[in-house]
């Protein structure tokens, strides 16, 4: 028989266990823990500037909006997180409704226009994205695009429109429609989209599907298209953007939020981090980054090739009213989730 001695096996097992122990033991306690659902790349660009400035050591736990929000709610008071950042605001409302946020400092809120701060004052917006429609320029002209995002539910759009219903991005848009148009109109709109639309995995796939001509138009956020243009244009050169404007639900601005957890033991440093994000230095760094999302502090602005913030004409929506659970129920009912 081909036998290996049990001693050798035991030695291997022991050394492996030791490695694992070392791995667990050697992680130093960071000064701040940030649960981050904003794009990982963006925060990896911004955090080092803050660390440089303050000498604090920040660790990111990256995930998606609602996954991290669910995790924070499950963690409750036991959460190791100090700060929570999201891509869209509905996830902030989930954590706020669970009463887990400490109010953000006035210094953090001051630079941000008040419509991007919830009435509770428990968190603040720091960057935003505009809803757009991308259309394939070989198949359609700007004039062919509908006046309202609600028109995509009409039968003439059957098979011609793509979107990505799972994930927080699209839910933020549905939230806005619900807030502006009411439940019945949202239900009708979702049913129409379900019948007409090609459902895709994420916004990048939407961009690709439009560019390749698989569908004529796609609902997404502005920066996917601009970023691809900045990179090489491989997925966007055959397409163009249509901004709805005119306070249409389709011109909705989705706000990324930042908040400090009540359970954090590092309240001051956590507030300092949010102040940095909304302050001139952080906002300028974000404007100059690859992200191409709209800074909310008027002192910073995006490069000239991106449609200027003050020409967007978004509808007025209370960021705190965007309602996750009701949206999920409607989307589930429509068969989108």
């Amino acid at each position: 028989m081909h036998s290996r001695s049990p001693q050798r096996l035991a030695a291997t097992l022991a050394s492996l266990a030791l490695t694992a122990g070392l791995l667990a033991g050697c992680s130093d306690e960071p000064d701040l823990v940030v649960y981050n659902a904003q794009h990982q790349e963006l925060l990896e660009e911004i955090v080092p500037i803050f660390e440089e400035e303050t000498g604090l050591d920040v660790e990111l736990r990256n995930g998606k909006d609602l996954e991290l929000a669910n995790q924070l709610v499950a963690e409750g008071d036991g959460s190791p997180a100090d700060v929570f950042l999201t891509e869209n605001s509905p996830a902030m409302s989930i954590v706020d409704n669970a009463d887990l946020f400490a109010p953000v400092s006035d210094a953090a809120k001051a630079p941000i226009p008040e419509q991007y701060v919830p009435s509770s004052g428990n968190w603040t917006g720091f960057i935003a994205r505009s809803t757009v429609v991308m259309y394939n320029t070989d198949q359609a002209k700007a004039a062919d695009m509908p006046a309202s995002i609600l028109d995509f539910a009409k039968p003439e759009w059957k098979g011609r429109i793509s979107f990505s219903p799972t994930g927080a991005d699209f839910q933020a848009i549905v939230s806005a429609v619900l807030e502006l148009e009411g439940e019945e109109a949202t239900r009708t709109w979702l049913a129409g989209l379900k019948a007409n639309g090609v459902e895709l995995q994420n916004n990048l796939v939407v961009l690709k599907s439009v560019n390749s001509g698989e569908v004529e138009a796609g609902i997404a956020y502005h920066y996917y298209w601009y970023r691809d243009q900045a990179e090489a244009g491989e997925n966007s050169d055959s397409s163009a953007l249509h901004f709805f404007g005119d306070q249409d639900p389709g011109a909705f601005l989705s706000v990324s939020g930042a908040g400090v957890l009540k359970s954090s033991k590092n309240q001051d440093d956590a507030q300092k981090f949010v102040e940095f994000l909304t302050g001139p230095q952080g906002q300028k760094a974000m404007a100059e980054s690859y992200a191409l999302e709209y800074p909310l502090n008027p002192e910073a602005s995006l490069p000239a090739e991106v449609k200027p913030f003050d020409e967007l004409e978004p509808p007025t929506v209370d960021v705190a009213s965007l309602n996750g659970p009701a949206v999920v129920d409607l989307m589930t009912e429509a068969g989108l989730l």
Binding site: H2, S3, R4, S5, P6, L9, L13, L16, A17, T19, A20, L22, L23, A24, S27, P30, V33, H39, Q40, E41, E59, L60, R61, N62, G63, K64, D65, L66, E67, A69, N70, Q71, V73, A74, E75, G76, G78, P80, I94, T166, G167, A168, Q171, L200, Q201, N202, L204, V205, K208, S212, E231, G324, P325, V328, D329, M331, T332, E333, G335, L337
Partner: protein, 469 residues
């Protein structure tokens, strides 16, 4: 929404069709491929059988989601049912092929020769004599394929084919405290139980060990004659699809990807934590598998079977379900353990215990109780018997079990994202974050390293199968 309404809605019907359809189709195709390839490599005079064998096992080192990324990034139309069926079959067939080859190698050719002597054709003898003897290996392999598929998340999400597992993930990504995800999970558990019961039924009680004295001869290879070259060519084409495509795609993206970069400290840290976590998970799961397998083999009976089989259920649950449950439980019971490597390893044990149990069990089945009894009668204590007789006998199966768990842990995504110590990244999580942003170039180094660190475990598995023969 009411639980009943959540269950009885069109979306559930769609998911049920997708999940069952893909599971059945993949089980059928991996069974056909596994048996055909096993027979061609082991029983015919096909060219370069030894090389083909090594290449045919190689897909085990390529995680299914890396394989999906390879296909989809080269050809975006490989999506939906047919794309998933193709890519998953190419990733999973070694789970059937390996045990089939091992069994074929150990079969006594005398039975088959008797059938020929009685005037049965080659094909008929294969169907009536060989195939029944392959049944345990074939069913075991196909069961593993089914269970893997029920839990598969990364590959199917990339291939845009919604099943219960991807839908559960999406639900957790969108619902606050909703009941939809647990509802979906319960349907998934039901499907898993169906598979387990089905396998128990089909396996039956028959025994297939040879009874004669001496050792079985190796059988004479079947001469393929004019078919020899086409058979070789067909096998090579399959290998090219299963191994060549991912290899080409990875190298392609490393070369052309505009986002390709090699941040060495990040990659180094990801490699270190992946290897350490996978090793710790492998050791812990193998240690836990020992008593479970011992109960199933040496004690037997209904309860032992129940213990063994119940561990399979968690295997079919997506990592996110087990992960969220552990978040809640650990914070209530042992808060200091939360987000430590220890709790993460516990999650791995819960998720991957059956993979270790399967191997350890097979090893124990072949270790005669008689030897233990003899050692005991010679005055050894129970512990000494375990250390000096039983463990050395089953050491290779312990290694194989550990290797299977190692491969599974190194590619686990969701539980790792949720439960790992803050600041930890693994090759799988880094790969996932890059590839779901479609930064194929940035994803490539992580995918390549995942394949590289999987190679030793895969080699261990190949060697182990040789010992069994």
């Amino acid at each position: 929404m009411e639980a009943y309404e959540l269950l009885v809605r069109p979306r559930i019907g769609e998911l049920l069709r997708n999940t069952i359809g893909l599971t059945v189709a993949t089980m059928a195709s991996t069974a056909a491929l596994g048996v055909t390839l096993g027979w061609v490599v082991e029983r015919t005079d096909v060219r370069g059988a030894r090389w083909l064998h090594a290449l045919l096992v190689a897909p085990l080192a390529v995680p299914a989601f890396v394989n999906s990324y390879a296909w989809i990034s080269l050809n975006p139309s490989v999506v939906g049912f047919w794309g998933s069926w193709l890519v998953i079959t190419l990733s999973y067939y070694p789970l059937v092929y390996l045990p089939v080859v091992a069994t074929l190698r150990g079969l006594d050719p005398a039975l088959e020769e008797t059938a020929w002597a009685l005037g049965h054709s080659r094909l008929r003898s294969f169907a009536t004599v060989v195939l029944p003897q392959l049944r345990p290996a074939l069913l075991g392999g196909v069961l593993l394929v089914g269970l893997h598929l029920l839990a598969e998340f990364g590959a199917l999400q990339l291939l845009r084919f919604p099943t219960f597992t991807t839908a559960i993930y999406d639900q957790y990504g969108s619902t606050y405290n909703g009941s939809a995800a647990p509802m979906l999970a319960s349907v998934l558990v039901l499907l898993c139980l169906l598979l387990l019961v089905g396998e128990l039924r089909l396996r039956g009680q028959r025994r297939f060990a040879r009874l004669g004295g001496g050792v079985a001869r190796r059988s004479e290879p079947v001469r393929l004659g004019p078919l020899r070259w086409p058979a070789t060519l067909a096998t090579v084409v399959l290998v090219a699809l299963a191994v060549g495509v991912p290899a080409y795609s990875l190298l392609h993206w490393l070369r052309v990807g505009s986002s390709t970069e090699f941040p060495l400290d990040e990659i180094g840290a990801a490699v270190a934590s992946t290897v350490a976590l996978a090793a710790a998970g492998a050791v812990a799961a193998t240690l836990c598998a020992l008593p479970v397998a011992w109960l199933a083999v040496r004690v037997r009976g209904r309860w032992a079977t129940l213990v063994e089989r119940s561990s399979y259920v968690a295997n079919a649950l997506p990592g996110i379900v087990v992960g969220l449950a552990l978040v809640t439980v650990s914070l209530r019971v042992v808060p200091p353990l939360y987000q430590t490597a220890g709790l993460l390893v516990l999650a791995y044990v819960i998720l991957f215990l059956p993979r270790a149990t399967v191997s350890v069990r097979a090893g124990l089945e072949q270790a005669p109780v008689l030897l233990d009894d003899v050692a005991a009668s010679l005055g050894h204590s129970r512990l000494a018997v375990l250390r000096r007789v039983t463990l050395p006998l089953i050491a290779p199966s312990l290694g194989a079990g550990a290797a299977l768990v190692f491969l599974a842990v190194s590619t686990e995504l969701t539980a790792t994202l949720m439960l790992s110590p803050i600041g930890t990244s693994t090759l799988a999580t880094e790969f996932w974050s890059a590839s779901s942003d479609m930064r194929y170039g940035a994803a490539a180094p992580y995918a390549l390293l995942l394949v590289l660190i999987s190679i030793p475990a895969t080699l261990l598995l190949i060697r182990e199968r040789r010992h069994e023969s």
